[in-house]
């Protein structure tokens, strides 16, 4: 089907391509006509090759041009959304479109511009780099930050296209459009959420790593960890994937070899640590321990008792009433996530599986976290376009999967609205919905693993491995026998 689709799209563009390559086409046609009476297989090879080269290079150019147009259109959509937010938020009361974090960024930028610490703004829990990038919010216009985040969105699409074009050139544009026109990415960046910056940094790290520029990938990884702490979960798989594209006979051998420190791996680790120090130390110098507390340490000890998507939210709330959170509780909430992160890192540590592995890691991190808000979804959604060509699902199956993921969210949002804005006691219902959403997340992840590179089919076949091997040998035997029989008969 892939080939048919490719051919269809090519045929659609043929008139355009033929017009561009008319000279080469005419030369080839003239050659054919000239040698019509005595046409041999390679008599017009030079002209044909020239014509073919012209067609393919122009097809690439055309592809790029389509992508540029879609990027412009996507940016235009984002600008419209930013204008809408300006109009909608004009009213002081009611629910605002602009994210509260955007106001926090702007206030922090204001403090920074006045020469004081951005952490003077309560609840600013990011690197001062973001506040610095948003200083034009005060100097130029309040929408500057939203435009900047939208620009990062477009940069993400460019990286997605580059990454996909390596394995699936025919799908590179489609995958980039999956991000450009994704409602989640549009809403997140135009509401003024800075996650598009961290997604961009995470993807550019991946691009550098896949291209085997390990020093560069270590630097980008350090910057992305500095901006948002969550990409630290990718460190293990990046380390394991360096120079480990071979197959191993046993699991223990694979673990040992992948963990074994090679020169490249040591260089990667050292560069990462040094880069992290270089990008973090200046801010520590200016803003001291408060910077480390607010930007990093807060996230590790965060216990949000207010309602959120996490399965742990109601438990956290009830426990907070007793003023005691034991060490056992901390282990019980962190250990399952840790086990899963390590398992997935080892399972998909090959460079070819890196995008899917990062998707799984982000998904596990979000689904098993003690706090979960909708802005976290963008962490794994940014990897979906990269995994799309490898996940063998039909359109109906994709819709089913999306429904499994979305329906519990709708239920949760309904009860959350009743609690937050109507004052109904829906704590227990919300908890049940968060359990449902957790189960949906587990199901979605397992289905995705099953369908990644036809794993389900492979599994079915490997269950019947013995029978498969026997059948395979029988077929091979029959073929050999028939071949020898034919050879004998020819004599």
């Amino acid at each position: 089907m892939d080939a048919v689709n490719k051919a269809k799209s090519r045929f659609k563009r043929y008139p355009e391509l033929l017009l561009t390559c008319r000279v080469e086409g005419l030369e080839y046609a003239a050659c054919i006509i000239k040698n019509e009476k005595d046409l041999k297989p390679n008599s017009c090879k030079t002209q044909f090759m020239k014509f073919r080269e012209c067609l393919s290079s122009n097809a690439l150019k055309l592809n790029k041009m389509y992508f540029v147009w879609h990027t412009v259109l996507a940016f235009f959509i984002r600008i419209l959304m930013i204008l809408f937010s300006q109009w909608y938020d004009n009213d002081d009361t009611g629910v605002h479109y602009t994210d509260i974090d955007y106001k926090i960024f702007t206030d922090a930028a204001q403090h920074m511009w006045e020469g004081s610490s951005p952490y003077m703004r309560p609840t600013y829990r990011y690197t001062p780099l973001i506040a610095m990038l948003l200083i034009p919010n005060i100097l130029l216009h309040i929408c500057w930050g939203k435009l900047l985040f939208s620009a990062f969105d477009l940069a993400i699409a460019i990286i997605i296209r580059k990454l996909v074009s390596k394995s699936h050139p025919g799908l590179s544009n489609v995958c980039a459009y999956l991000w450009l026109y994704n409602p989640l990415s549009i809403v997140i960046s135009t509401r003024g959420n800075a996650d598009s910056i961290s997604c961009f940094l995470v993807l550019i790290t991946l691009l550098a790593h896949i291209k085997s520029h390990y020093i560069l990938s270590a630097i980008f990884l350090a910057i992305s960890v500095h901006v948002r702490i969550y990409p630290i979960i990718y460190c293990l798989v990046y380390y394991l994937s360096i120079g480990s594209d071979n197959n191993y006979s046993s699991l223990s051998k694979m673990i040992f070899i992948r963990l074994f420190p090679t020169r490249k791996k040591i260089l990667f680790v050292v560069t990462f640590i040094l880069s992290l120090i270089v990008v973090t130390w200046p801010w520590y110098y200016f803003y001291g321990q408060q910077f480390l507390d607010e930007a990093y340490l807060y996230h590790s000890r965060r216990l949000d008792v207010r309602h959120n998507f996490s399965i742990y939210f109601y438990l956290n709330y009830l426990l907070s009433s007793f003023n005691k959170t034991s060490i056992i509780y901390s282990i019980a909430t962190k250990l399952p996530m840790l086990i899963l992160l390590v398992s997935a890192s080892f399972k998909f540590s090959s460079t070819k599986d890196l995008p899917f592995c990062l998707f799984c890691l982000s998904f596990i991190m979000v689904a098993f976290n003690t706090v979960m808000t909708s802005q976290y979804f963008v962490w794994f959604v940014s990897f979906l376009p990269l995994c799309y060509p490898f996940i063998n699902l039909t359109c109906t199956e994709i819709i089913n999967l999306v429904m499994i993921w979305v329906v519990p969210q709708i239920g949760w949002l309904l009860f959350a609205y009743c609690l937050e804005f109507l004052g109904f006691n829906t704590f227990q219902l919300l908890w049940v919905e968060s359990l449902m959403f957790f189960l949906a997340n587990v199901k979605v992840l397992s289905i995705t693993i099953d369908y990644y590179k036809c794993n389900k089919l492979k599994k079915k076949l490997s269950y019947k491995n013995t029978e498969f091997t026997i059948v395979f040998l029988i077929i091979k035997l029959i073929r050999t026998l028939s071949h020898s029989l034919l050879v004998d008969m020819s004599f």
């Binding site: 089907m1 892939d2 689709n5 002081d92 009361t93 703004r121 309560p122 609840t123 197959n247 008792v305 399965i311 109601y314 438990l315 709330y317 009830l318 426990l319 009433s321 007793f322 019980a332 909430t333 399952p336 899963l340 398992s343 997935a344 399972k347 090959s350 070819k352 599986d353 098993f368 060509p389 490898f390 063998n392 039909t394 359109c395 609690l419 937050e420 804005f421 109507l422 004052g423 006691n425 829906t426 704590f427 227990q428 908890w431 359990l435 957790f438 189960l439 587990v442 992840l445 397992s446 693993i449 099953d450 369908y451 590179k453 036809c454 794993n455 492979k458 599994k459 076949l461 490997s462």
Partner: protein, 260 residues
């Protein structure tokens, strides 16, 4: 013909007298100008009303009074709210509102934690300063601003916690100061300067009652068991998938996905 020394002395004394009386009368007039700016309140009430439901409310305050004033622009009226720990205001949200309206908000605490639950928070005082009295007769002040309710401690015996505000005299107080039009730099009369006159006879008419949903502590064992149980189940399910899934680079079965 020159004036005699005696005449000169008399004239000097007369001019001096005129100068001194002029200066004294000028400053005397200046000094008496303050008494020209006044606000006399005979009786009054503070009416509180809460709009919306849930955690995010709007507190609407109206002060109705029988009063006399020199000019509507001569006096500033401040409402002092002593909020309990159950309620908080977002200073930055109020700053945005102050930009669009003729009011100023001051909070005595430098830092209001908007994330902590009620039992881990502190009460605070909010001052709302109005520099112009409304044109409506008998209405001394009318203002509204958003307030937020904090999460409450889970309880054993009830599903809602009652948050009452305005029942004590000290919850809302009115103060005023008359110094002429706003142009005469109000900043030199800070709220804690002691120059503001408390209108102690203007009292809250009726308190407001809000209900905050609370969790049930009886649920804790069950919630703990089911939550951890499901997490373990989910972990096991995903690990099983990961372990049983063949390696993506299987040398025997090489399959590549087909896109339709």
């Amino acid at each position: 013909m020159g004036l005699s020394m005696k005449t000169k002395i008399i004239l000097f004394a007369l001019y001096s007298l005129i100068f001194v009386t002029s200066v004294v009368s000028y400053y005397g007039f200046k000094g008496s100008q303050d008494s020209m700016h006044y606000l006399t309140i005979h009786s009054g009430n503070i009416n509180l009303q809460v709009k919306n439901e849930g955690y995010h409310r709007v507190l609407h305050t109206t002060v109705t009074a029988d009063y006399e004033t020199s000019n509507r622009k001569d006096c500033a009226v401040t409402l002092r709210y002593d909020f309990p720990a159950d309620i908080y205001v977002d200073k930055y949200e109020l700053a945005t509102i102050a930009l669009n309206r003729k009011v100023e908000f001051y909070v005595d605490n430098k830092f209001i934690d908007v994330e902590t639950p009620a039992h881990k928070s502190d009460p605070f005082v909010l001052y709302v300063v109005n520099y112009t009295l409304p044109d409506t007769a008998n209405k001394l002040i009318e203002t509204e601003f958003p307030i937020h309710l904090r999460y409450q401690k889970a309880a054993e015996d009830s599903r809602y916690k009652e948050v009452r505000f305005g029942d004590a005299y000290s919850d809302v107080q009115m103060l005023y100061l008359c110094k002429g039009p706003r142009i005469s730099n109000w900043k030199q009369f800070p709220l804690n300067s002691g120059e503001w006159i408390p209108a102690s006879y203007v009292k809250v008419n009726k308190d407001v009652v809000m209900y905050v949903p609370v969790g049930d502590t009886h649920n804790l064992p069950l919630v703990s068991l089911i939550t951890h149980g499901l997490v373990l189940l989910g972990t096991y399910y995903i690990i099983r998938r990961l372990l049983t899934t063949p390696s993506p680079e299987n040398p025997i079965i090489k399959l590549s996905p087909v896109k339709c």
